[in-house]
Structures are given as C-alpha cells and as structure tokens.
C-alpha cells in the first residue's frame, strides 16, 4: 500500500445548474483506513463520491484517487482498483444474480473467485434468482458481494446500510470489517448514521454545505473534545471562555454545559475559577461533535436525521 493519501481533494467545487453541491471541499483519506464521511442529507457526500469516480466533473479545484485525476484513462485506472456501491444499490433488473456476477467479474482480472463462493453462501444469495425480485436487503448484499470480490484496493460505499434493518446492517458492517482486516484495503464510506461510523471508522470527516468542517482520526477528535458540566448553588452566572479552541456554552438555570474542542487543561482551569458547587468533565460522543460542527440553525433538522 502506498504512503500518500488514497483520496485527496483540495478546494473542490461542484456546481450543478443552480445548486452548489461542493464549495471548496478539502479531504485526505489515509491509506488502509476505514474512513467515515459524515453529513446530513444533501450536504454533498454523494457528489463527492461521484466526482472522485469520474461520474461528474469538478467545477473547480482538485480531486485525486491513487494520485490520479478521475478523468479519461486515469479515471479508468482508478475504477479498475476501486469498488463502488451506490446509495440506491440499483443493479440490472433484467439479469439474475449469477449473470451480474459473471458480468462484473469480466471487468476485473483480480477477481476473487474464492470470496465469491464465500459471500454467495454467507449472504444466502440464490444464483438463479432474478434481481428484480430481490428485496432491498438482498440487493444490498449482492452489491456488497460485487464490490468485495473485485480485488480492489479501495472500497467506496455510499450509505452502505441505508434502508436495512439493524440485523442486516450489522451483517454488512461485519463483512466490511472482515474484508478490511484480511485484504489490506481502504474503506471510504459515507453515512448519516453516527453509531455505525463510531463503531468501525478510525478516521472521519464531517461535511456540511459542501465543506469539510471537522476531520481527523476519530480517537484524536474524541480526545480533543470534552464536555464540562458546572452546577451552581444559585443561578448560573454568565461566563465567557477565553481559552483557545471552540466552545459552545449553554446555560440553563443552575447548570452550565460547555462543549469544548480545545484539549488540555486551560479551559478546565478557567471554568473552575467560577467556583461551581459541582464540576464534571465527561468524554464527548461523535454525535455531539457532529451536532456541534453542523450549523446551529439547522440543528433541529440534523437531530431528526441522525440515528
């Protein structure tokens, strides 16, 4: 595996007619990582993937996969080494399971016939079945099979578990994790399900309105953010935080909650100075980081669409 990032974008813009889907997106996906790409619906996740695979052309800025720009013959090279699963998981409904496997296989010289047999069994996919008669869950598993057997270095999945019940979603995640452990590939998946990202990703980026608002290794992010809760005997005072980093302060009666993104003790010291009767520092979940970084006025929308 190479040393540079597998996926890299710099100042990526994409305008569709009157909609700006991407507005200067910066992204770096390290090789060998499981990278969760988070954002609410319409934030630009699918557009990013489309640009990276050459399905849509950038309006401005750069996008590179394996160091190649996704156009022309370089684009073909990228797709030779990448496996993509779309959000809708639509396949050719005039083919059977066996036919689409044979079809897909013909494009990838590194196809893994052993994995094909394994996943056909594991996912319980009858080869003679018409694709149009498959349920969404079965279609997702078939799409996953077609992706995992390509011998690809990079898996790009758009909302891999959308529309699936929790049991099936877990099966899909399990297949992903098993695959990554054995095959040394990079996984880039978009999702608006925070729980699954937290479960399997080691790196994340949060995209909002076509821009990256947070990105990095998940453990680093969690270490960076903390929630501090101060309880006062009387009404909580107005406080202003001067320590570096971003801080969201919420005051409710006797309680002040501060969501702080500066790691270290400067904030803690400063807040202790207000002499609360109770002082508690607790770790912050990805959900809180997500809600914090996505624009405040949209928060009520975000809270609904987030799992």
């Amino acid at each position: 595996m190479s040393n540079g990032p597998v996926i890299e974008t710099a100042g990526l813009w994409k305008r569709y007619e009157d909609v700006e889907a991407l507005r200067g997106l910066d992204l770096q996906v390290p090789s060998g990582s499981i990278f969760g790409f988070l954002g609410k619906n319409g934030a630009g996740k699918t557009t990013t993937i489309k640009v990276l695979l050459g399905m849509a052309r950038p309006s401005r800025g750069e996008a590179r996969v394996f160091g190649y720009a996704p156009s022309g013959h370089d684009g073909v090279e990228i797709r030779r080494r990448t496996a993509f699963v779309s959000d809708e998981k639509d396949l050719y409904d005039y083919m059977t399971v066996a036919e689409i496997v044979a079809f897909t296989r013909s494009f990838y010289p590194r196809w893994r016939a052993d994995l094909e047999q394994q996943y056909l069994r594991k996912f319980d996919l009858p080869p003679g079945r018409d694709i149009k008669s498959l349920s969404r869950g079965m279609r997702t598993k078939l799409a996953m099979l077609l992706a995992l057997c390509r011998g690809a270095e990079l898996l790009m999945l758009d909302e891999p578990t959308s529309g699936l019940d929790p049991a099936m979603a877990e099966e899909v995640l399990q297949a992903l994790v098993g695959h990554v452990a054995a095959q040394e590939s990079t996984v880039f998946f978009s999702s608006h399900q925070l729980a699954e990202v937290e479960q399997i990703a080691d790196h994340v980026a949060i995209i909002d309105r076509g821009q990256t608002v947070v990105s990095g290794a998940l453990d680093d992010l969690r270490a960076k953010y903390q929630r501090i809760r101060l309880v006062f005997d009387g009404n909580a005072p107005e406080i202003r935080v001067h320590a570096p980093g971003t801080h969201r302060v919420r005051r409710q009666g006797r309680v002040i909650t501060v969501l702080s993104s500066s790691s270290g003790d400067a904030v803690i010291e400063e807040l202790r100075g207000y002499r609360p009767s109770s002082f508690e520092v607790s770790p912050v979940s990805l959900k809180d980081i997500f809600l914090d970084s996505v624009r405040a006025e949209d928060r009520h929308v975000v809270a609904q669409s987030v799992a």
């Binding site: 052309r57 797709r79 494009f107």
Partner: protein
C-alpha cells in the same frame, strides 16, 4: 461483456421488430394475388371524371402501372411502404435507451463505476444496435424470394439483398439520431417521439424539396428503376450517421451524472 449487456437490454425490441417486419414482407407476398384481382376496379376508378379532375387519377394510374408485375408490386408495397415506414420506426426504437435512460432506472452509477470509458459504453451499445439493425434490414426482404415460388412468382435473392442494404444504410441514420437524442434526455419517450417527428417532417418536406429524398434511398428506388444502387445517398447517410454518433459520444462525455 458490455455487448452482452446491450443485447439483454434490447433483445425483445429486436425480436419483435424482426418478426413484424418479416411477417409484413411475407404477408405482402401472399396478398399479391388478391391485389391483382382488384386491378380492374382500380383502373376503373382512375378513369372516373372526379379522379381525372383532381389529378388523383394520374397518381392511381402510375401506381397501377408499377404494380402490374410481381417485382413492381413488391417494390411498391413492401419496400416503398411497409419496410421503409416500419423500418424507420424500429430503427428509432432500437436507438433509444442507453446510459442516460439507465440513470433514470438507477443502475447508471453501477455501470459508470466500471473500469471502462463512456465511449466504450456507447460503442458497445451502438455496435449491438447496428448489428441488430442489419438483421432486421436484411432478413425480412429475404422472405420474399423464399416465399414467392409458393404463389408461382419469382424474386431474385440479389434484389432482396440490394434492397436490404438500402434499408440498413438509411435506417442507421435514424438509429444514430435516436442514439444522439438519447444522450440529451433521461426518459425514453422524448428521444422516441422527437425522432419520429423528425422522420415525418423529412417525409413531408421531401415532397417539395427533393434533396431531402432520404426515403427514396431507403426504398431503393434507383435500384428498382435503373438497377444501380444509390451510392451518393449511401455516402450522405454514412456521413450523417457518423456525425450523429460522434455528437452522441461527445455529449455523453460531458454529461454529469
């Protein structure tokens, strides 16, 4: 396996087209005798004062003249009418569809994620379509020399093949037109209806502008009347078809999905 995919996507259209056109051609053969019996009636109609006055009489007489023998009858009914009209329709039908239509059904992204260029995708579809077009242009005319002896008539295979080629070359133009329109619209109706409208428009205009006589190339009029194939018409058709396919490729290349 892109060709195989294109085949699966269009096979029913192709089979139906082949069947209908062959049945039409074969049917014409068997209707010959009945048509011949009606000739005296037709001549009588042409000589009525009303027909003479409107010039309709002249037209009817010309039609009768041509259809006096089996070869003329076949040219008039089968090549000039049935196979040209239905041939254009089926050529357009075969040319519709493709990647943009796939995007309305959802699987376009899967196809686009394959390690192939868009030109390769279009090429496979076009290649399959033209091969199918060749079959539906050449096979129905061949029904005529095969079936003619059963009613005591004769039609040469060379004539059938010559007409088949004429049908194919011009049908390819309409196929390419439909293919090009299909790179502009995601639904299957607009390319179909627009191409048909253009074909009708050309048919109407060619009565006043003889240079637009693409249909007389298609029905092999010059071959029927003089025995020589319409090479100029073939060349023009080939150029137009190529230009349309090139435009389709360029449009597809620029398209965002």
């Amino acid at each position: 396996m892109l060709w195989h995919k294109a085949w699966l996507e269009t096979r029913w259209r192709f089979i139906i087209a082949l069947l209908i056109l062959t049945v039409l051609a074969g049917g014409n053969v068997y209707e010959y005798l009945a048509t011949q019996r009606l000739l005296p009636q037709a001549i009588a109609t042409a000589e009525t004062p009303a027909a003479q006055a409107t010039g309709l009489g002249g037209a009817i007489r010309e039609a009768i003249e041509i259809q006096k023998d089996f070869r003329g009858y076949i040219w008039y009914q089968t090549f000039r009418q049935n196979l040209t009209q239905m041939g254009v329709f089926f050529a357009i039908l075969l040319g519709c569809g493709g990647l943009l239509h796939e995007s309305s059904k959802g699987s376009a992204l899967f196809t686009l994620s394959l390690p192939v260029t868009r030109k390769q995708l279009l090429g496979a579809r076009t290649g399959t379509g033209l091969a199918q077009l060749f079959a539906i242009a050449m096979v129905p005319p061949l029904a005529i020399p095969i079936l003619a002896p059963s009613i005591g008539q004769h039609f040469t295979i060379v004539d059938a093949l010559a007409h088949g080629i004429c049908i194919f070359v011009v049908a390819a133009v309409f196929f390419s037109l439909a293919a090009f329109l299909s790179t502009l619209f995601t639904d299957i109706w607009r390319p179909l209806l627009i191409a048909i409208a253009i074909a009708c428009g050309i048919a109407i205009l060619s009565t006043v502008i003889p240079q637009l006589g693409i249909f007389s190339v298609m029905n092999g009029e010059s071959y029927f009347k003089t025995g020589s194939l319409p090479w100029a018409g073939f060349l023009t058709s080939a150029v137009i078809a190529t230009a349309l396919l090139y435009s389709a490729a360029e449009t597809l290349e620029r398209r965002d999905f």
